[in-house]
Amino acid sequence: MKNNVIRKILGGTSFLLTVTIALFIVMYIIGMNMYHEAGFGNMQTFLNMLIDNAGLIIAAAGMTLILITGGIDISVGSVVGLVCMMLAYLMQNQGVNVYLAVVLVLVFGVVFGTIQGWLIAYLKLQPFIVTLAGMFFCRGLTAVISVNQIAITTNTTFLSVANMNIVLPFGGTLNKHGKMMYPFIHPSVLIALVAMFVVWYICKFTKFGRSLFAVGGNEPSALLMGINVRKTKLRAYILNGFLASLAGLVFCLNTTSGFVEQARGFEMEAIATSVIGGTLLTGGVGTVIGTFFGVLIKATIETFIRCDGTLSSWWNKIVLSALLCFFIVLQSVFVMIKSKKKA
């Protein structure tokens, strides 16, 4: 009897999400106590986490969509790198209008997503192989455009958007001189939050969103239900391609430059944050809200390491990988319990 109750708790789909939110809160409280001097508890520290990871929020939202269909996309990192390079090259070296450049890169993302989606959905190639090739393709293409770092310095419209501070009217702290400093965010955070909300809405309330879950949960039965599985998958990859290029745009707003090594390992971060946020790698389960908390956990780890000051920045990736590993193992245990419950 007691065993059943435990299984019911562990078997609920919201269990992983609960673990994530609890982990974030615990980590944040520990951080506030450990690094109080460094200003861990300030509103601005929290907002900086959002500013630094605005691109990741968008890319991880796209990744969540793909993971829900049971696929995977490891090309997002190099798409982000390529988009940054394209923006920098177009605006700095070619003097292209900022609006045209932005439209061009977004169109590129959609086209790239369509090609990958077509190969995966209609040729039934393994998503991993296709996107692995896509990852190397984009990385190579970035090098084709330029092997040098290009910084955007002349386009004033782009730079003014990138550096615009939107000051919030609350949560201020007193600085050294006793002046009230109100926290601020950049427009990139607004773009990220809006994109996240749209993806959440699509997942929750549209026919397309609901069929994503059906396809990921059980493809044959989705087919029998009359869902066009191929079209659904293709659309998911197109949307993901668009989000990846949007993430690249936001990333570029933060870095205002393009170079070959940019955003390497970004795909892992996107996958890790989705998985930490409770998205099942086997497909069919996941929420964008969870992914958002996954991003926050990743940002908290970064802030920890930054506040500590003595640890090498390589620890970021190692800790995140370890956390990913932990959650993957947790998932596989979760899936095992679930399949036992059925039997």
Partner: protein, 360 residues
């Protein structure tokens, strides 16, 4: 080049599976000859063999070793190990760190450094194997963990004392001449050492696989793990073995790579190698969907890719841009191999047949 193919290709030259890889290799070589007419010239310079074919074989050594490991992983688990490049970096970093950078002696005896290097590969491979075989995680996701963490770990290993504190992320050098022999030449031998290591590795794995029933076990598990289990095979153990083996292969490749540049560059050792290894397996006529495999095919595939790389270098394409071409080739091969494509082709030929008959 022949010496590498001989043991296998004579037996299976008429075998369908080997047709594509050999054809691709010849095509690559012909293209290379057209671009560089002096392509096949081999001479002895400074007491060692010198020329494009030697260069290709020499540079392909690591890839051949990785491709053998990757072939088994693909065959048994229907997935790929994308951490090979990062594992190479880890084992290379460990080896170089242990050897130290003194001018007159090694900090650790060479034998132990090499054992540690292979052991690091084994540990990484076993970690992947545990995740895939025991916890049933998709191979690519499981190996993604080391794919990212691996280079970070390698950076942490590559630490050097600067002003009394250990600073990670350095490039460590080995100053002793004898370490360079693994990636260079043995005294008074004209053929590069990596070629011997690659031949030895391939022969050893071929013997282990084919003189025992292991090869058949791997194929059985790959074709149908459930059926494999029903006939009494421990599929978990076999999949675990393939990953551990792939890890050791990465360790060997890492040793050669480190020796070539007699240093450990955690950022660049084994960079993009995972794609090359997967490409070699696919080019070798092995299905990426698991099951049947041919090590000979993968070896030829690896040489073909190196021929492609060398050819592109000869054309003046820089290393950064190579992935663009390789990515397109991977997609083409995988697309041609796919069942959907075969079905379309079958439908097309049926359509044409019907058209001809109607014309009659």
């Amino acid at each position: 080049m022949n010496s590498l193919r001989k043991p296998f290709s004579f037996k299976g030259i008429l075998h369908q599976q080997l047709f594509l890889p050999i054809f691709a290799l010849f095509l690559m070589l012909i293209v290379n000859v057209i671009i560089t007419p002096s392509f096949f010239n081999v001479s002895i310079l400074n007491g060692v063999l010198y020329g494009h074919p030697i260069d290709i074989i020499n540079r392909a050594s690591e890839l051949i070793i990785l491709a053998v490991g990757m072939t088994l992983v693909v065959a048994a688990s229907r997935g790929t190990d994308i951490s090979v490049g990062a594992v190479m970096a880890v084992s290379a970093a460990l080896c170089v760190r242990l050897l130290g950078s003194n001018y007159d002696s090694y900090a650790t005896p060479m034998v132990w450094a090499i054992v540690a290097c292979l052991f690091a590969g084994l540990v990484c491979g076993s970690f992947n194997g545990f995740l895939v075989a025991k916890l049933k995680i998709q191979p690519m996701v499981a190996t993604l963990i080391l794919f990212t963490a691996g280079r970070g770990i390698a950076q942490l290993i590559s630490a050097r004392e600067i002003n009394g504190i250990m600073v990670p992320g350095q490039i460590l050098y080995v100053r002793m001449e004898s370490f360079k022999e693994f990636g260079g030449f043995l005294p008074n031998v004209v053929v590069p050492t990596p070629v011997f290591i690659a031949i030895g590795f391939v022969l050893l794995s071929w013997l282990v696989l084919n003189k025992t029933a292991l090869s058949m076990y791997v194929k059985t598990v790959g074709i149908n793990p459930k059926a494999g289990r029903l006939v009494g095979l421990n599929s978990t153990l076999i999949i675990f073995f393939t990953y551990a083996f792939c890890g050791v292969a990465s360790g060997v490749a890492g040793l050669i790579s480190a020796s070539r540049i007699y240093s450990s560059d955690a950022n660049n050792i084994g960079l993009y190698m995972e794609l090359d290894a997967i490409l070699a397996v696919a080019l070798g006529g092995n299905s990426l969907g698991g099951g049947k495999f041919s090590i000979a095919g993968s070896v030829i595939g690896a040489i073909t890719i190196q021929a492609l790389t060398t050819g592109l270098y000869a054309m003046g394409v820089s290393g950064d841009k190579l992935p663009v071409f390789k990515a397109v080739v991977v997609i083409l091969i995988v697309a041609i191999q796919s069942n959907e494509f075969k079905r379309w082709r079958a439908a097309y030929s049926l359509h044409r047949k019907a058209g001809k008959e109607a014309a009659k």
